[in-house]
């Protein structure tokens, strides 16, 4: 536990002292702000965060891998992984520590967006239900995206490749649900169930369904497990 904390703490410090993380935060706030205000010009704007939530899931596709790309790729590039893996630390502790750090930064990003909630409450009377559930969904979605990014960062020493491949995987997982909307029959169900979007949308509508929670937790666990295996196999290369 202490080692997980040590790994996470070091990465969190680096997040908050590196320009990349702040650039990611800036881009996220600027663009999610755009999504938030997009429909406010309508005659009867809806007092909800739905536009923001939908926009955020889109933004996290490139931004989550951008946040995680450094975490293991750089250690491999600089060779610091040699000292990390010859310390008495288990491979899963390394992965969990790194993941935890990226999760903390995600929470920081989402905390910034409480600004939108404050605006909404100040100028309208939104239904609080979908706001709570939307944030829960967004956190789960973000955690799944970060887990994908951790895996690609473990697989390469090149940060750019880690980010690009991570984004590619997320695009596929994001778009799968849309394929489900086009095809029919059993394929529609399969594609819908596989992708992120259909599982996220219920949260956005104010519904907290345990099957969707199970889905995201499974995706997170799967990608973290693959990351641990990838790190282990790194010793055999």
């Amino acid at each position: 536990m202490r080692t997980i904390r040590a790994v996470a703490f070091k990465e969190i410090q680096i997040y908050f002292s590196s320009p990349v993380a702040y650039i990611v935060a800036l881009i996220f706030m600027a663009l999610s702000g755009f999504f938030f205000v997009r429909d406010l010009g309508n005659p009867f704007p809806e007092a909800s965060l739905s536009n923001f939530f939908q926009g955020a899931t889109f933004l996290l596709i490139p931004l989550a891998p951008a946040l995680t790309m450094r975490l293991l790729a750089e250690e491999q590039k600089l060779g610091t992984i040699e000292l990390l893996l010859t310390s008495p630390v288990r491979d899963w502790e390394v992965i969990l520590g790194k993941y935890l750090a990226s999760f903390v930064f995600l929470l920081f990003l989402l905390a910034l967006t409480s600004y939108y909630v404050i605006l909404l409450v100040a100028f309208a009377t939104p239904d609080p239900g979908p706001i709570y559930s939307g944030y829960i969904g967004l956190i789960l979605y973000g955690m799944a995206a970060l887990a994908v990014g951790i895996l690609t960062s473990t697989l390469t020493s090149n940060q750019i490749i880690a980010a690009v491949v991570g984004t590619g995987i997320l695009v596929v997982l994001y778009a799968t649900s849309f394929i489900g909307d086009v095809v029919t029959g059993v394929w529609a169900t399969i594609f819908n169930q596989l992708g992120f979007t259909s599982h996220f949308n219920d949260f956005d509508r104010g519904i907290i369904d345990s099957t969707h929670i199970v889905y995201f937790v499974t995706v997170i666990a799967l990608f973290l497990f693959l990351s641990i295996r990838a790190l282990e196999s790194r010793r055999w290369r």
Partner: protein
């Protein structure tokens, strides 16, 4: 880490030392490692005694780094076993890693951290508690003479000072074994001298394995030297004996078709041969014959073999005798300093 240590808590017995040598800290048996089709090290055997300073001497590409990465549990060998303090580096990797301090060749450090915060991080990874870490950081900063730089960002330090930080992290947790890969490479001569004496001090209490391609350096620091060349250990002795041994010896490698039990004594009786060793390889028996330099035994040996009714399959002056390695290793010092 294929096996989780917790799962085998009830299997955990006292570490078994197979060798009769209870003083052995590291035992390497038939170690072979392949990266691709060619072995980087092959059938390497050696033992490091407790408290010993062992030098690994060899030219670039000899297999020093490969061996050290296996000793420290960074990667498992393709074949063979390595035990450290009785623990197998593959099966009991975690136990091994608790006992080792390691300075990798390239001195990889987290350049965006300060010296103190980096050491604190490494200490926590090694399972040290907060108070012990603070205490030890003061100690190692003192020992490695980093007093003026404890709050400096590592990326801003010169190569020589980074090397000191590398040594500081290696000794931080007071490991029983220190593995130092080319600890004096690329730093200026004054720092080289300081580093050598620091290693000698550390060697008073700890078992130290260090690698180098500089012969005088190894002779100066180490109690025992292994010369490694193209993945094979070609000599192992004290620096003094090695120097003696290396003087004026030449070597011939022959492959002979015939029963080794008969061939060996005949080869040994050849006039001028000082040492004959048998190296069975798949399908063929090879022999290494050492003789005093200046002699040429090729003629005599080929006649002897043929007159005994055996077949002479190949014969060559060894591609590189110890002496040549010695020379190459010594000249390398001029490149560096």
């Amino acid at each position: 880490m294929a096996v989780e240590p917790e799962n085998q808590a009830d299997l955990e017995l006292e570490p078994v030392t197979e060798s009769a040598d209870v003083d052995a800290m590291i035992e390497v048996r038939d170690l072979t490692h392949y990266y691709g089709p060619m072995p980087a090290v092959e059938n390497v055997n050696f033992t490091v005694r407790r408290g010993e300073i062992l030098g690994f001497l060899g030219p670039n590409g000899a297999g020093k780094t490969t061996t050290m990465r296996i000793l420290t549990g960074f990667m498992p060998p393709t074949r063979g076993t390595v035990t450290l303090d009785g623990y197998d580096v593959v099966e009991k990797s975690l136990e091994v890693r608790k006992r080792v301090g390691y300075l990798p060749e390239s001195v990889p450090l987290h350049t965006e951290m300060t010296v103190t915060s980096y050491l604190k991080y490494m200490g926590t990874l090694r399972g040290m508690g907060g108070r012990r870490i603070r205490h030890r950081i003061d100690d190692v900063i003192d020992v490695c003479r980093l007093e003026d730089y404890s709050r400096t960002i590592i990326g801003k330090l010169s190569k020589g000072f980074r090397q000191r930080v590398g040594i500081a992290q290696a000794i931080l947790h007071e490991p029983e074994v220190l593995v130092l890969d080319e600890p004096t490479i690329g730093i200026d001569p004054i720092q080289v001298v300081e580093t050598r004496s620091l290693i000698q001090d550390l060697g008073q209490e700890q078992t130290v394995v260090l690698s180098s391609h500089i012969l005088p350096e190894v002779s100066m620091i180490c109690e025992r030297v292994l010369i490694i060349h193209e993945g094979h250990i070609v000599a192992a002795d004290t620096p003094n004996n090695l120097a003696q041994h290396l003087r004026g010896v030449a070597q011939l490698e022959v492959e002979i078709g015939g029963p080794p039990a008969e061939v060996l004594p005949v080869l040994r009786s050849v006039n001028g041969a000082t040492e004959v060793t048998h190296h069975p390889r798949p399908g063929v028996n090879a022999y290494r014959i050492k003789f005093r330099e200046g002699l040429d035994l090729r003629d005599e040996i080929s006649r002897t073999v043929v007159s005994n009714g055996w077949s002479l399959l190949s014969m060559q002056m060894s591609s590189m005798s110890l002496e040549e390695i010695f020379l190459r290793v010594t000249t390398a010092e001029d490149d560096v300093e």
